[in-house]
């Protein structure tokens, strides 16, 4: 039996890469696929094709930047951003390192939680991400460990997305003038997009 995800990926591929969940479901009439919570868009990954890499990185992104009063990483399109950025920006060596780093992450998550990362409870996943970050920050950061590369891409993707920028800080497309000394108290928000 073809897996649900593979079917959806094929459907997405036929339609040119990215399709909305309802459209995909309509195409797959009769299929018992369920839309997973928080995933609005089904997508055929370009780079993150190993195992559950796309899903795992999506979860890591959402753990780092969850939906609160502002959009979370998934709503802001961060997983797709990361996938395309890994494909376009990184050289083959860094790409290979990312793949190896992902495999290590998956393996150590499994040995810590006795289950694949995606099957663990949300609290356990979040704790594992936090621990991974702390371990990476305490260790050798050259070359950058997988979890920190992921984090950099999560932040870059989020803060170059419209919801990420406009919901968390003041963004002025045309500021009209520069004012060098402004009390923070007089600003719309303390964070200002530069």
């Amino acid at each position: 039996m073809i897996e649900r995800r593979e079917l959806l990926r094929r459907a997405a591929w036929i339609l040119g890469g990215t399709i909305s969940a309802p459209a995909a479901l309509a195409i797959l009439q009769g299929c018992s696929a369920k839309k997973s919570p928080g995933v609005e868009v089904l997508y055929l990954p370009k780079f993150m094709t190993d195992g559950s890499m796309f899903e795992v990185v999506s979860e890591i992104a959402e753990i780092m930047l969850p939906k609160t009063d502002t959009s979370g990483a998934k709503d802001a399109g961060v997983p797709i951003f990361i996938d395309t950025a890994l494909d376009a920006i990184y050289d083959p060596e860094s790409q290979q390192r990312f793949r190896a780093g992902y495999a290590d992450f998956e393996a150590s998550a499994r040995s810590a939680g006795r289950k694949p990362f995606l099957e663990q409870e949300p609290a356990a996943r979040a704790a594992f991400v936090k621990t991974s970050l702390e371990t990476a920050l305490a260790g050798d950061r050259e070359p950058k460990p997988f979890i920190l590369v992921t984090r950099e891409l999560v932040l870059l993707g989020y803060f170059t997305s419209k919801p990420g920028i406009t919901e968390n800080m003041t963004y002025e497309a045309v500021p009209t003038a520069y004012h060098g000394c402004v009390p923070v108290a007089q600003m719309k928000t303390p964070a200002y997009w530069e």
């Binding site: 930047l65 376009a88 170059t160 002025e172 500021p175 520069y178």
Partner: protein, 562 residues
């Protein structure tokens, strides 16, 4: 032949070519402007109004850009937002000899005037007198007083913002209101003045902080503080030849602007002892055409103009056009940039800034000025800025979830960074020539470059980096980091000196009016002409000398002397 004849030909449409075109056409000369790259008209800025989320890959340099533009990316510039202004290095190769040479190029109408950093400083008496006093290179044939009125003229037309600071080493000019220094920069300024007797001033930049004081550029409006200048400004908020000089030339009705025309040779008439025109190959059709004129202005950049001259051999000029001195292609200079510095600044957390400024602060040269004497010649200036950290401060942090999102809504701490740009002395061995065998896709010989920094620059580097640390520490800033970087000549994108001017035709290529000593109807007014290079950004000086050269050319022409 009739249709190919003009009063004047300008080769190149960038910073200098735009000025030559404006001045020549305004004086009534029918002028042909030849540009080797594609057409760009004011407003043709495809990415200028894109929001961050409209740009792919977070506007980071892609592998594709790195593969096609391996030299252009050495600066970190060509990103998805602006890469269309930077040449494809594979398509437009040159040869690096012993040392790497970073040749940043924009092959399109407007050239690098579209992507320049807009810092606009006068050279002062200190700069114009240095070679003569120190016996370096050749003496400048022009004094500060002679060029000062031309600085006035180009500053007023271009619109330069800045403050008058009364510094001997950095003469004041005509300025639109200065940008603000932010709170931390003001703090740093006070410290430097009080503890070290050094000046920090606002950058003098070609961004309109107020309307122009003339009505010659109705297409230009004030700077909107978007800081996206490098993409081209639909508001005309900064000076480029596309936004300012070429529209003026166009309005005279005297300009013919031809893009995609690669000028590669000057046509020389041995009997008349004059250049009669320029030989051109069409970048698309590869068709060759000769264009004729009484006056030729080479404004194709320091490497580009010297290339054309080296490639123009005749019985009279067997070693390249006007090259009796043997200096053509030699004495390449740039600004040395051996590293950068940064520090954390505590406090000022209740203060920030709004708008995105296209500017920074400037610490003018203080070494070997007045009583200061070092074990090297000349000096350097710093460009920098203070800012509050943004989201990237959390790249290396373990904060996640709600905590991270809350923290991201606050402004980060302040830091202050600056980079020194140092004068490079002219040296005969820093040079370019034409490869005797290798050719490009147009069948034209490849340019070869070999240039490096030498003893004087190396000595100066110690101060350039050491003084930065000293100043940041004097201000009480924390985590002072001075990073030394490898620097290739060209990386400051100020390459120059390949056809220097001087009074002695045996030692220089051009005379004091940018006129080829040995062929009076050819003028070279881009960075080629510089006999020394100061530590200031050079574009304003090219503009001033270009305007002056045109004035001389046209008045001599009227007198029948050309």
């Amino acid at each position: 032949m009739e249709t190919n004849s003009f009063d004047a030909i300008v080769v190149g449409s960038g910073m200098s070519g735009g000025w030559a075109a404006k001045e020549l056409t305004e004086k009534g000369l029918k002028t042909l402007v030849l540009e080797r790259g594609r057409m760009v008209k004011h407003g043709d800025y495809p990415t200028a109004t894109k929001d961050p989320w409209d740009l792919p890959f977070g506007n980071r340099i892609t592998q594709d850009i790195r593969h096609r533009k391996p030299i252009q990316t050495r600066t970190g510039y060509p990103t998805p937002a602006n890469e269309h202004w930077f040449v494809d290095d594979i398509e437009h190769p040159y040869v690096e000899d012993e040392h790497k040479f970073d040749w940043l190029r924009g092959y399109h109408v407007g050239g690098r005037s579209l992507m320049w950093a807009r810092q606009s400083y006068r050279f002062g008496p200190l700069d114009f007198e240095a070679n003569a006093k120190e016996g370096v290179g050749v003496p400048w044939p022009v004094t500060y007083d002679e060029i000062a009125p031309w600085y006035d003229k180009v500053e007023i037309f271009a619109g330069i913002s800045g403050s008058k600071d009364g510094l001997y080493q950095l003469p004041d000019g005509h300025y639109l209101p200065p940008h603000d220094l932010n709170c931390v920069e003001q703090d740093f300024k006070k410290t430097l003045a009080a503890k070290m007797d050094r000046k920090l001033i606002i950058g003098r930049c070609a961004n309109l902080t107020a309307p122009l004081t003339h009505d010659e550029s109705p297409q230009r409006g004030t700077c909107q503080a978007r800081n996206m200048c490098i993409r081209g400004c639909p508001y005309g908020g900064y000076f480029s030849s596309v936004s300012a000089t070429l529209p003026s030339a166009e309005r005279t009705g005297n300009m013919t602007l031809l893009p995609d025309q690669i000028a590669y040779e000057l046509i020389y008439d041995e009997k008349k002892g004059r250049a009669t025109g320029v030989r051109v190959i069409d970048a698309g059709t590869r068709q060759q055409t000769d264009y004729f004129a009484k006056l030729v202005f080479l404004c194709a950049s320091a490497m580009g103009s010297a290339y054309i001259m080296l490639n123009s051999k005749s019985g009279r000029f067997p070693n390249g056009f006007g090259n009796d001195s043997g200096e053509l292609g030699h004495n390449i200079m740039d600004h040395n940039k051996p590293g950068s510095s940064n520090a954390s600044v505590e406090g000022y957390l209740d203060m920030a800034y709004t708008g995105r400024w296209p500017n920074g602060f400037y610490i003018p040269r203080y070494r070997n000025v007045g009583k200061d004497k070092r074990d090297y010649l000349r000096g350097f200036g710093y460009q920098g800025r203070a800012q509050r950290a943004g989201w990237s401060r959390f790249n290396d942090s373990a904060l996640v979830g709600d905590e991270l999102k809350k923290a991201l809504k606050e402004a980060g701490p302040w830091s202050l960074g600056m980079t020194a740009f140092g004068e490079i002395l002219p040296n005969h061995d820093n040079r370019m020539w034409l490869d005797p065998e290798k050719k490009d896709k147009f069948g034209l010989p490849l340019l070869v470059v070999n240039a490096s920094v030498r003893e004087n620059e190396r000595k100066m580097e110690k101060d350039m980096l050491g003084d930065a640390a000293e100043m940041l520490e004097a201000a009480g800033y924390k985590n002072v980091v001075v990073k030394s970087d490898s620097y290739n000549v060209g990386n400051s994108i100020h390459e120059s000196g390949t056809a220097r001017m001087g009074n002695d035709p045996k030692k220089s290529v051009l005379n004091k009016f940018n006129q080829v000593h040995a062929c009076k109807n050819v003028f070279v007014t881009d960075g080629s002409f510089m006999p020394s290079f100061g530590c200031q950004n050079p574009s304003l000086t090219y503009m001033a000398f270009t305007a002056r050269a045109v004035d001389h050319a046209v008045s001599e022409s009227k007198k029948g002397n050309l």
